[in-house]
């Protein structure tokens, strides 16, 4: 039995045990959730650009964004057949809300509720992007409106099962508060400091260089440094720079905007530089441009100064000539594509593990808090899966590695991190081979890795921690070889299925 089947069996067993009790609906919800798309929360400090990034990932302007603090209520965005907005008030039954949308973001009529009286909003929206993941927009931490900050905190750090399976953590630059928050998000049972369910996003990346054209390069450098910072490694898998606003606009670029940008790019480079010196100048100077100040303000809101500078440069240099090309260029430069592929390898391919983990945590909490006849056996089953299931053992090694508890030569540790799937569960990720490597190459690499890790596991000079980790690595190598010889493997087929989805 693989992990998914074992988890499902344990869930069924638990349902039997708790049937007829008041916990039955809760368990049913856990079971439903197990088959739902992955739930990814978008969290971060206030004004980190969470709603903007959500829009960029969905490819539509759904979440309202504003210069001031904007998101006050935890909002779920999920796929469905109809368009629907549901409010879960603090007291009382959930109820449908009216909403409208003209061109821009969704406007929800709270029907007399104050934001602090609504626990969460659930927005159902037919969308391709929401089919692989349900996205959760959260109020920022470090907000001056305390209730909203506390809400995000509660959502992500609830003691028992966390409503989200994984989290995208947006930071503008790593701030002490960020680390604190991420720490709180990790659980401690399935694996210790747990970077498996969190990815860091260096958001508003264009602002790091205050809008210079090389801002993204600078942001990438910082993201790389953060990714290797031990403090950061312990809490997130990796850090990706994203210029959220640019990504959002690239996904929703209009032909009118393209025309307006073209007018700017037709001016000489010097003129454009003078015009784009400051946002105020762009709005006020050069009337011969033929754009009203309202149009200019709208452009600024959509692109930011950096976006306009970049778009004008791309158009002038002829890198892009049509709206589609420009959208593609901007999206590529915004870093959102890179984020998508990281999400794919680190979250969606690991969906089974993340989902099982959420379900097992829920069971663990329930059996502990509400023991009854038969729950003992469920608890034992949960513990057995957590302790013995290979994917969890890999995660444990991974988090120990990330926490710096396993000592060894850097090269060895790096190999270890890959082989246990730290950079992605795919075979080529584990063996650090190009994606198009042929079967013979892969097989021989896997065999070499197996021999190497067996040796390390058995060598009496290997440190205690490394030896334990090496035994897990041996099992990982065996798994790869088994898969290559045609044995079905959960994660692999899952990945293929994901591919088809996209």
């Amino acid at each position: 039995m693989n992990l998914v089947e074992r988890t499902r069996a344990t869930l069924a067993k638990a349902l039997d045990v708790y049937r007829g009790t008041r916990h039955e609906p809760r368990l049913a919800a856990v079971q439903d959730r197990f088959d739902e798309p992955l739930r990814v929360a978008i969290a971060g400090r206030v004004k980190a650009g969470k709603s903007t990034l959500l829009n960029a990932l969905v490819g539509e302007r759904l979440a309202p964004t504003d210069a001031g603090e904007c998101t006050r209520i935890v909002t779920w965005y999920r796929d469905g057949h109809t368009y629907e907005v549901l409010a879960r008030p603090r007291d009382g039954e959930p109820r449908q809300l009216r909403f409208h949308r003209d061109g821009g973001a969704l406007e929800v009529d709270l029907a007399g509720y104050a934001p602090e009286d609504v626990d969460e909003l659930v927005i159902t929206w037919p969308s391709q992007a929401l089919r692989t993941a349900t996205l959760i927009d959260t109020p920022g931490i470090g907000s001056l409106t305390e209730t909203s900050a506390r809400r995000a905190w509660e959502l992500l750090t609830a003691d028992e099962e966390t409503p989200a399976d994984a989290v995208l953590y947006l930071m503008r630059h790593l701030h002490p508060q960020d680390v604190e928050f991420l720490q709180a998000f990790r659980d401690t049972e399935v694996s210790r400091p747990n970077p498996i369910n969190a990815i860091g996003v260096l958001s508003r990346a264009d602002e790091i260089g205050v809008g210079r054209l090389d801002s993204m390069a600078s942001a990438r450098k910082i993201a790389n440094r953060l990714s290797t910072d031990p403090k950061v490694r312990r809490v997130v898998q990796t850090v990706v720079p994203v210029a959220g606003l640019l990504a959002e606009t690239a996904a929703t670029l209009t032909e009118t905007e393209m025309q307006q940008l073209r007018r700017i790019s037709e001016r000489s480079a010097r003129e454009v530089e003078g015009l784009l010196l400051s946002a105020d100048r762009f709005v006020e100077k050069m009337p011969e441009l033929g754009l009203t100040s309202m149009e200019r303000q709208a452009l600024l809101e959509r692109f930011g100064l950096f976006g306009i500078r970049l778009a004008a440069a791309l158009l002038r240099r002829g890198v892009a000539t049509t709206a589609t090309e420009l959208a593609r260029e901007l999206a590529g430069r915004s870093g959102v594509e890179e984020l998508r592929s990281v999400l794919e390898t680190l979250f969606f391919e690991r969906r089974d593990i993340l989902k099982s983990r959420s379900a097992l945590l829920a069971l663990d909490a329930l059996t502990r808090a509400e023991p009854r006849a038969g729950s003992e056996a469920v608890a034992a089953a949960v513990e057995e899966i957590i302790a013995s299931a290979h994917p969890f053992r890999e995660l444990r090694v991974l988090s120990s590695l990330r926490a710096g508890w396993v000592s060894g030569k850097p090269a060895v540790l790096e190999e270890l991190e890959h082989i246990i799937g730290g950079a992605g569960g795919g075979v080529h990720h584990r063996l650090r081979l190009p994606e198009d490597a042929d079967t013979a190459t892969v097989t021989s690499a896997a065999a070499r890795a197996l021999a190497g890790w067996q040796q390390r596991a058995e060598n009496p000079l290997t440190g205690h921690e490394l030896a334990a980790a090496a035994r897990v690595a041996v099992r990982s190598c065996e798994g790869i070889l088994a898969e290559l010889s045609g044995e079905p493997d959960g994660s692999r087929t899952r990945a293929a299925e994901m591919e088809r989805h996209r």
Binding site: E69, E207, G211, L277
Partner: protein, 605 residues
Amino acid sequence: MTENARPQEASPALQQAAQLVELGMRACEAYGRSDLGERLAATRRTLDDPGIYVVVVGDFKQGKSSLVNALLGTNVCPVDDDVATGLPTYVRYGQQPGAELLYDADPPEREPIELERLREHVVERTEQDAGGRRPSGVVVKLPRTMLASGLVVVDTPGIGGLSSTYAAASLAAVSMADAVLFVTDAAQELTQVEVDYLRRVQEMCDTTICVVTKTDFYPAWRKIVELNQRHLEQLPGTDMLPVSSTLRARAVRAEDTDLNAESGFPDLVRFVTGRVAGGAVARLAASAAADVVAVCRQIESQFEAERSVLADPAASAKIMEELTAVKRRVEELRGSAAKWSQTLNDGIGDLNSDVDHDLRGRIRRLTEEADDLIDEFDPADSWHEVEGWLEAAVAEEIVENYSLLRARADELSERVWRHFQEASGQVLDQLAVYNPADLVPRAEVEHKMDLEKMSVRKQAMTALKGSYMGILMFTMLGSMAGLTLGPIAVGIGLAMGLGSLRTEKKRQLTQRRSQAKNAVRRYCDEVHFRVGKDLRDTLRRIQRQLRDHYSARAEELNRSTAQSLQAASDAVNRTKAERDKRLADIDAELARLRELRRRAEAVAG
């Protein structure tokens, strides 16, 4: 620092004060009062290097260094997209551009470096340089008009954000600043942490302004300013000033006045030079003039005693008798039995034990809190956080402790001043009696006492300034930053077996917790040791400065009375013709002195 003394462009108020002080010095020389002359020479030196501190604080990556650069039209403060400023940078006047590293010592050691190499020293370093001593700050000298009046702009480290050791150190610097620029960028409205920090800044320095940076880049900056204004309603008296360092830098390069106006900097420059430097300069000039007034009065009193005898030889016996009585009282002021001296010694003793008790209490509370934290969480997870929290909390407590020290030392210095004034004031009044016509109205006397008090308090502040402003406090907390709890050998077994997983985890957890608690104890002990020593040193310095200050004043008075007595007794033995001639001379001298005093009084306000 005399090597960068006397910039040509020194402010008119300071130049005027300097002229008065120099006249006073010449008078002292002419009348053979080298002791009073020395006092004025010291005053003269503070006029050369008044040290008006404008401290720039704010969360990291808000553009503090860019702001300093743009303000001064320079690029000496290193600016980086990624790493934050790691050392406090003091930018002050110098005829030649230059830079030096400061090292912790009393007085601080200085090591000149090339201006171009500043970046290596100032930007946050990942690891502390191997082997090298860690400098406590950097002094940059620039030939800038704005700095010529003695303005020192302090760029504080941004590392670690507002809840770190460095932020606490900056807060300490704020407590002695003449003005504070709180920097926040237009990317977003003020956060809770920022507002809290700003509130504390404002409590410590009433000339605080909130500068909103990067207005060129954020189209919605007006909205942000408006939102901030709303947040600042809870903090009345803090103005907001939107600026763009980028535009200003460009405007300075291109000498473009329109662009400069757009950058918002003209307002900031006006604030810094006008309200800050102007106000501080006026205070400084007034206090220097007050010194001149005090010196004039002493010399005048000497002449007046002589004049009384000359004018009315019949009363000479009575006058001599009274002068002798005064002399006895002055002598009482000099000895260690004098009331002010006892107040000082007792006060320092009390202060020492109170401040130490306060520190001990604070550290004990922290240790207990840390223990609770460790019991609540697993150190294997949270050690980094406990470490960060403890270091920042320790820094905060030290700052609070220093604030107590400062408040209490101020109080003490005032008490000492009162006791000294009670004793010496009578003396001065008695000396003045011999010229009833010259008796100043009561209100004016009090006014002068205020001036005198100001100059006295200034002395006490100087003692504190050495221990707070920049050097000591930054170093203190800087070295705290170097002091770490160290890693705990967590000994995480990668327990993989089913049976051992829970029990083994539990055993390791207990072990980790006790290790963590021990590390906290060691750290706190070390902190107490270091800070305690620093407190004692600071108090000793305060005691010495106050004692020296008042002893010198007592000595001056003593000489004044002795000379009055001498002049009076000489006067008795003169012939009528000699007396008349001498009277004319004295009247001329007194007229000159009064003229100087009058001018000084005008400046002293």
